[in-house]
C-alpha cells in the first residue's frame, strides 16, 4: 500500500511500484482524462503534473509519485487551468479531442513556469503531438492566455 495525493485527495493504492502512473490513474483511480497514445513518452497524451512538473505518465513509475501531489486534467481548476480550458473552448481548439487533455496539461506547465525568457516561440516549446493538426489554435490559445495572465518572460519569439 502506498499513498498518493491526486487532485488534492489522498488516495491509497496497492499496485506494483513499477506500474506506470498512467495506468494507476486510469485503472486504479478511475481517472480517464490522461490518455494512452504511444506508451513511450513521446506523444504527450498522458501528460500530468507531479509536484507541479509535467511528466509523461506512461513512462513514469507510480512509485515516483508516492507521497507527492499529482494533478490531472480533472483537477486542473485554479485560475490558469480554468482560463486555459475556457480558451480551448472559445477557440474550438479540439477536433477529435483525444490528445487535448495532454495538450492543456503541457500548456499549463509551460505558462506556470517562473520567468524563463526564451527566444523560441511558444509553439516550439510545446511538443505534444496532435494528429488532427490543431497546432495553430493551440498556439493561439496559449499566447492569448499568456497575455491575459501577464506572465512575464513568456514573450512569443516570433
Amino acid at each position: 500500500m502506498a499513498s498518493i495525493t491526486v487532485n488534492e485527495q489522498l488516495a491509497t493504492i496497492d499496485v506494483a511500484g513499477e506500474k506506470p502512473l498512467l495506468w494507476a490513474l486510469r485503472e486504479d483511480l478511475g481517472l480517464k482524462g490522461a490518455k494512452y497514445g504511444c506508451g513511450v513518452g513521446l506523444c504527450g497524451a498522458c501528460t500530468v503534473l507531479v509536484d507541479g512538473q509535467a511528466v509523461r505518465a506512461c513512462v513514469t513509475p507510480v512509485s515516483q509519485a508516492y507521497d507527492k501531489t499529482v494533478t490531472t486534467i480533472e483537477g486542473l481548476d485554479d485560475e490558469l487551468g480554468r482560463r486555459l480550458k475556457n480558451k480551448w473552448k472559445a477557440l474550438k481548439v479540439a477536433q477529435c479531442g483525444y490528445c487535448q487533455t495532454g495538450q492543456i496539461m503541457s500548456a499549463y506547465h509551460l505558462l506556470n513556469q517562473p520567468e524563463q525568457a526564451s527566444p523560441e516561440p511558444i509553439a516550439q516549446r510545446l511538443n505534444n503531438i496532435c494528429r488532427c493538426g490543431t497546432y495553430v489554435r493551440i498556439h493561439q490559445a496559449v499566447s492569448e492566455v499568456s497575455a491575459e495572465m501577464g506572465a512575464r518572460g513568456l514573450t512569443d519569439g516570433q
Partner: protein, 775 residues
C-alpha cells in the same frame, strides 16, 4: 445557447474535451468481468502454417481460451468490397502481423504472455515487398482501369517539348491518437452490443453477425466518438470488433480489444504508396498537349478499398488542368504487407501529385515560373471545361479564387522580395509555391451516397437526433445539431445528439469521402421537415387560423403566423401528442444524378467539386537541408459554411497532415516485410514546431453551393492537397542552388536529407553544365 447554422457557436463536445470527460471506446473498460482479447500475429510475411501448438499458451495464468479459425461459428471471411479476407489465418499467412489466433484472458498482461507462448511452425516463402517487386512478379489485385480521350499520337507529334519520368509518393500511417479499440457485450437472447472506434458501424454489425453466424438484427454497433480516424477506421476497425465478439460468444463474458501503438502500426494498412511512369507533351507556350500515365499502387496483401482508392487517383490526375489528350491507366499491386487502405484524400492526393510533379519538372525544363505554368493550364470555358472522364467542371471557382488568393497573399511582391533575398544569400535560399485544388465530392461507388436519420420531438419541445455518421473530430455532430435546430426553429440546447448506433439508423455508409455533413445533414433536415409538416395544422389551430396551416413558420422556439404572436414549440408538440400525431420521423437522402461506368471510363462520378488554393513560402539551409515553412496563405471554398470555425479548423488540420505526408513521414518495411517505423520514435508526424510560422486561412465568400444543404460544401479531404504547395516552394528554393534549366530531383517525403540530396544534385548539375560549356 448562441450559435447555429452558418454562425460561430460552441463545439458540441468542447466542454467534455477540456475536462477529460469525453468518452472514447479506448477509455471503456467494459462491465465488471470484461476479458481482454489479443491477436497472435504472424512472425513471417508469407508462408504456410505447418503446426500450431496452443498448450503452453493455455497454461498461462489468466488465459481463458485461444481461438483459431476452427473456432469461428460463422464466416471467417470478410472484406469491405470483395469477400476474401480471413479474420484468422486459415493455413496460409500473407503479411507479418496477420492474426493467426486470438488469446482471451483476464488481463491484457495475461493475453500478451499467452500470445507469446503460442508455438508456430511455418514453411516460409519469399515475400513480395514493394511496387517494383510486385510488377516484376506480375502480382496484381486488379486488371488495368483506363480513362482516355483525345489523339495522343498527334499531341506528342506536334509537341515542342516532351518529358518523361517516374513520380513516387510515399505511404503514410494514420497515427490516430486513439488506437483501434472495440468492446463486445453479450446481451440476453443471443444479442450483442459492440462499441467500436469505427467510421463504419454498419460494417462492424455485418462482420460481427457473419463471424458469429447470426442475423444482423442480433448485433447493435454503437460509436460514441473516435479519437481520430482519417480513413484508418473505415474498413480496418472491423477485425478487432470481430475478435472481441468471437471471444464474447465463446466465453459469455464481455470482451474488449485495444491495440498498443506498435501493434496498431504494424498490423494495419496505410495510405497507398504510388509509382507512376509518365510522358507529357507541351507546346511552345507551355500548354499541356497530352499526358500518358501508368499508375501502380501498393495494395498490400488484400484488395480492401484499393480499387476505389485507385479510381479516385485516376480521376484526379488532371488536378485543376485541362489535358486535351490523355491516357491514364492504373493497377493495384499485390504485396506481402498489411492491406493499404483509405486515408484522407483516398487516392486523390496521389493522383494530383503526379500532374503537379509533371508541371514542376516541365517548368524547370522550360525555365518558366511553375505558378504561371499552372495558371495557363487551368480548366476554362468550353471546350476546356471537361474532365478526362467526361464530367463538365461546373461552377469552377478557381477563376475567382486564384486572383483573390494572389492579391491577398501579396504574391507578386513577395516573389520579387524572395528573388532579392536569394541574390544576397549564399547558403540560405527562399522559395514560394502555389497549389490549386479541385476535388470531386461523392463516394466514387455511387450507391454509397445515401444516409439516414431519426428525429424525435418530445412534448416539452426538446429534440433528440440520430444520424448515420460518426464523430471523429471533423465536427459533424456540431453541424447536425445546428441543422436540426435551424430547421425546427429551436435553440441549440433544445437538441441532443444521440450516440451513433445501428439500431437507430440502419444500413449506413461509412463516414468518409468528406460526405458526412452533405448526406447526413440532408437526412436530418428531411426528418425535421416531415415532423414540421405534421405540426403545421396543429400550430395553425393554436394560432387561431386553421386554414393558414401552410403559412406557419417555426423560429425562435415558437410557431408563427406572420409576426404577430407565436405559440411555443413545446405547446405545439404537446397539442400534437394529445391529437395522437406522431412526433418522430426518419429522414433519408440519396445523392441524385451521379454514376460512372469503369468499363468505358466515362460518367459523372462527382456531385460537385470543392476548390481551394494555397501559397507557401519556405526557407532552406543549403548546408544542412533543414528548412522552415515561413508562411502559408490559403483561400478555400466550402460553399456557405455550416459551421465556419469548424471548417477553418479542417483546413488548418488537413494542411498540416498533408505536409506530414510530403515532408516528414516515412513508412519503411524491411525486405522481409517487417515494419521498421512502428512508433513515434521512428515515425515522425508533424509537431507544433513543424507548423508553418504563419498560417492564414480564409474561406471564399459568397460561394453558396445550391446543390447541398445550407449551400455548403464538403471540407474534410480537399485541404489536404493544398500542402503540395510546400513541395513547389521547396523546389523553387532548391533550384536556386543550381543553374537555370536543370530539373530539380526531390524525392518524397522531402525530409531535410532529401532536400540536401536535391541541393547537391543541383550543384553537380551546375558544375557538369559548366564543364560542358567550357569543354
Amino acid at each position: 445557447m448562441a450559435g447555429g447554422l452558418h454562425k460561430p457557436g460552441p463545439h458540441e463536445s468542447a466542454h467534455l474535451h477540456v475536462t477529460g470527460s469525453a468518452k472514447y471506446v479506448a477509455d471503456d473498460p467494459g462491465p465488471q468481468g470484461t476479458l481482454f482479447v489479443l491477436p497472435v500475429p504472424s512472425p513471417i510475411a508469407r508462408g504456410r502454417i505447418i503446426s500450431m501448438d496452443l498448450r503452453s499458451a493455455l497454461a498461462v495464468d489468466g488465459v481463458h481460451c485461444v481461438l483459431t479459425v476452427d473456432d469461428i461459428p460463422g464466416d471467417n471471411i470478410w472484406g469491405p468490397i470483395l469477400h476474401n479476407e480471413p479474420l484468422l489465418a486459415d493455413g496460409v499467412v500473407h503479411y507479418m502481423g496477420q492474426a493467426i489466433a486470438i488469446v482471451v484472458a483476464e488481463t491484457e498482461h495475461s493475453a500478451r504472455c499467452g500470445a507469446q507462448r503460442v508455438e508456430l511452425e511455418f514453411e516460409e516463402q519469399t515475400p513480395i515487398i514493394g511496387i517494383e517487386s510486385a510488377i516484376a512478379a506480375n502480382a496484381f489485385h486488379t486488371d488495368p482501369h483506363i480513362i482516355e480521350r483525345g489523339d495522343l499520337e498527334a499531341a506528342f507529334e506536334s509537341a515542342s517539348m516532351v518529358i518523361d519520368g517516374v513520380v513516387e509518393t510515399p505511404a503514410q500511417d494514420h497515427f490516430y491518437l486513439e488506437t483501434q479499440a472495440a468492446l463486445a457485450i453479450p446481451e440476453e437472447n443471443g444479442g450483442y452490443t459492440i462499441r467500436s472506434s469505427t467510421q463504419h458501424p454498419t460494417e462492424i454489425q455485418k462482420v460481427v453477425a457473419a463471424a458469429l453466424g447470426i442475423g444482423a438484427h442480433h448485433v447493435v454497433c454503437e460509436v460514441p466518438r473516435l479519437g481520430g480516424g482519417f480513413g484508418g477506421k473505415e474498413s480496418q476497425a472491423s477485425p478487432y470488433a470481430a475478435y472481441a465478439a468471437l471471444a464474447a460468444a465463446r466465453t459469455g463474458r464481455p470482451c474488449r480489444s485495444w491495440l498498443h501503438r506498435g501493434q496498431d502500426m504494424a498490423w494495419t494498412g496505410k495510405r497507398h504508396p504510388f509509382r507512376t511512369d509518365y510522358e507529357a507533351a507541351f507546346d511552345e507556350n507551355g500548354m499541356i498537349l497530352g499526358v500518358i500515365a501508368r499508375l501502380y499502387s501498393d495494395g498490400g496483401w488484400s484488395l480492401d478499398l484499393s480499387g476505389p482508392v485507385l479510381d479516385r487517383a485516376l480521376f484526379h490526375v488532371d488536378s485543376s488542368y485541362f489535358i486535351p489528350a490523355i491516357r491514364v491507366e492504373g493497377r493495384v499491386c499485390s504485396t506481402n504487407i498489411p492491406s493499404n487502405t483509405a486515408f484522407r484524400g483516398f487516392g486523390g492526393p496521389q493522383g494530383m501529385f503526379v500532374m503537379e510533379e509533371i508541371l514542376n519538372r516541365a517548368a524547370d525544363a522550360m525555365g518558366v515560373d511553375s505558378t504561371e505554368l499552372r495558371r495557363r493550364n487551368f480548366y476554362g470555358e468550353a471546350p476546356r471545361d471537361t474532365a478526362p472522364y467526361g464530367q463538365v467542371i461546373e461552377a469552377n471557382r478557381l477563376p475567382q479564387l486564384v486572383p483573390q488568393l494572389m492579391e491577398e497573399s501579396n504574391y507578386a511582391a513577395r516573389k520579387r522580395a524572395i528573388e532579392q533575398f536569394n541574390q544576397t544569400q549564399q547558403h540560405v535560399k527562399r522559395g514560394i509555391g502555389f497549389q490549386p485544388v479541385k476535388f470531386g465530392i461523392s463516394f466514387t461507388a455511387s450507391l454509397l451516397n445515401q444516409a439516414g436519420a431519426l428525429v424525435h420531438v418530445y412534448t416539452d419541445g426538446t429534440v433528440q437526433i440520430n444520424h448515420g455518421g460518426t464523430e471523429m473530430g471533423q465536427g459533424l455532430h456540431t453541424k447536425m445539431i445546428a441543422v436540426a435546430a435551424d430547421t425546427l426553429g429551436v435553440k441549440l440546447d433544445a437538441v441532443r445528439l444521440m450516440t451513433t448506433a445501428t439500431d437507430k439508423v440502419p444500413n449506413t455508409s461509412a463516414t468518409a469521402a468528406s460526405s458526412g455533413s452533405d448526406l447526413n445533414g440532408a437526412a436530418v433536415q428531411g426528418a425535421c421537415l416531415t415532423i414540421l409538416e405534421r405540426l403545421r395544422p396543429i400550430a395553425a389551430q393554436l394560432l387561431g387560423d386553421e386554414a393558414a396551416s401552410t403559412s406557419v413558420t417555426f423560429r425562435d422556439g415558437c410557431a408563427w403566423l406572420g409576426h404577430e404572436s407565436g405559440v411555443p414549440f413545446a405547446k405545439v408538440a404537446t397539442a400534437a401528442w394529445a391529437q395522437q400525431i406522431s412526433l418522430s420521423s426518419t429522414g433519408y437522402y440519396a445523392t441524385p444524378g451521379i454514376g460512372y461506368d469503369p468499363s468505358i471510363g466515362r460518367g459523372r462520378p462527382f456531385f460537385y467539386y470543392a476548390f481551394g488554393g494555397a501559397i507557401s513560402e519556405v526557407e532552406v539551409n543549403g548546408l544542412t537541408g533543414e528548412y522552415r515553412v515561413r508562411r502559408v496563405d490559403i483561400l478555400h471554398d466550402v460553399g456557405n459554411p455550416l459551421a465556419p470555425s469548424i471548417d477553418v479548423g479542417q483546413v488548418e488540420g488537413g494542411f498540416v497532415q498533408g505536409m506530414g505526408w510530403l515532408t516528414c513521414e516515412a513508412v519503411l518495411y524491411s525486405p522481409q516485410g517487417r515494419l521498421l517505423t512502428h512508433g513515434p520514435s521512428t515515425y515522425k508526424i508533424p509537431a507544433a514546431g513543424d507548423t508553418p510560422l504563419e498560417l492564414n486561412v480564409s474561406l471564399l465568400r459568397d460561394a453558396d453551393n445550391p446543390l447541398v444543404i445550407g449551400g455548403s460544401k464538403a471540407v474534410g479531404e480537399p485541404p489536404f492537397m493544398l500542402a503540395i504547395s510546400v513541395i513547389s516552394a521547396l523546389r523553387d528554393a532548391i533550384r536556386t542552388f543550381g543553374k537555370p534549366g536543370s530539373i530539380v530531383e526531390l524525392g518524397m517525403p522531402a525530409t531535410p536529407e532529401a532536400v540536401l540530396r536535391a541541393i547537391e544534385h543541383q550543384r553537380i548539375e551546375s558544375t557538369a553544365g559548366m564543364d560542358k560549356r567550357h569543354g
